[in-house]
């Protein structure tokens, strides 16, 4: 089951997602990146049906770029989140997307922010959020240890605690996670947490 979670720290936001691509009982790959960069200072971590996830997040990414081309300035995180919610809400009663999204971004005026967007287009700005079965463990762990204005090191420690909790308590826990961070210097990959590396087939 897909695990996505994120939190806001002091001038940055972190999102972590598992990296398994699953089809029924088969694990296709364990290094699937589910966190897409919308632009230089926004990340969108998505979970849900694989086709919808990729198609919808790419659609949002292209529209965010289009806005920047047309208007010469990038969208704020709040605007991008509201745009995403609008698209999900419009599609909801026609052809719904089954994608849950955590959008993290950094704006000069607003600082770092994290938006929780449900697959039925519920939008809420949060300090910490999570989706999937992993949320039962990561949200509680974050509730216990989270404080406002954590430093990057403290936040990563908390993310690792959540990953440990998911690994030890979720029955089909995903083996690998990717952690990405967004702050005033932009959105970038922070680290991977791998317990199973890709094994190349043995040569006969």
């Amino acid at each position: 089951m897909e695990c996505v979670f994120g939190l806001v720290g002091n001038g940055f936001a972190i999102v972590a997602a598992d990296t398994s691509a699953v089809h029924s009982i088969l694990l296709h790959k364990n290094n699937e990146d589910k966190i897409m960069a919308l632009d230089s200072h926004k990340l969108i971590a998505a979970s849900g049906e694989p086709g919808d996830r990729v198609q919808f997040t790419e659609y949002v990414q292209k529209n965010v770029s289009l806005y920047q081309f047309r208007n010469g300035i990038p969208l704020t995180t709040a605007a991008a989140a509201n745009f995403t919610r609008g698209e999900l809400a419009t599609a909801l009663r026609k052809n719904p997307y089954s994608v849950n999204i955590l959008m993290a971004g950094y704006d000069k005026e607003a600082g770092a922010s994290l938006y929780y967007i449900d697959y039925i287009a519920t939008l809420h700005k949060v300090d910490k959020g999570a989706f999937g079965y992993g949320s039962y463990f990561s949200l509680s762990t974050m509730d216990r240890h989270y404080r406002n204005d954590m430093s990057v090191e403290e936040a990563i420690e908390l993310v690792d605690k959540c990953i440990l909790e998911i690994r030890s308590r979720l029955v089909i826990a995903p083996p690998n996670f990717v952690i990405k961070i967004v702050d005033k210097d932009g959105a970038r990959e922070y680290a991977w947490r791998q317990s199973v590396k890709d094994v190349t087939t043995a040569s006969v």
């Binding site: 009663r93 449900d118 287009a121």
Partner: protein
Amino acid sequence: MGNDVLIDRSTNIVVIQIFEYNGSAVVAMVGKNCFAIASDRRLGVQLQTIATDFQRISKIHDHLFIGLSGLATDVQTLYQRLVFRHKLYQLREERNMKPETFASLVSAVLYEKRFGPYLCQPVIAGLGEDNKPFICTMDSIGAKELAKDFVVSGTASESLYGACEAMYKPDMEAEELFETISQALLSSVDRDCLSGWGGHVYVVTPNEVKERILKGRMD
């Protein structure tokens, strides 16, 4: 709304009770030349709590508030549509909408979607002509229910009916009205697992709007 369910058409399995999906409680009360409207603050996804600062009551203009309970996504969509309609009205008529007119507008907007409705129950509260308070509620397809004393909606509505009936008296001043509506809200949401995590109360008199956050049982 206890029998409305969401059916997954691909499997024809009953999935969820839609009106109970996010959890909500909204109440409005009439006082002496004033009104109060209050809501809980929980945003949940069935049994899991996502946030404890969700805004269910929105201002349309200084003397008109709408509280929306029900499915959170439709609460947000409907609020955006209604603000849009009211802003257009303001541009054309160069004045604010009267509460009775706004209630009719909401009713019409909801009934437009009669066979695919917005899954919300609005509570509308405003000060009309001569600062006479006006409250009403409606179901998700726009059936208006006017009341002289109080209106309720949300998952905690049955508890709210009982608490309000017991605590309400007519012609209360603003401070007493605030106390009454707060106690009614907090005691009702304490009996409902899907709503709570504090309260948000607006008390509106002809001259001012007082917004207060209540701290209740945080569970």
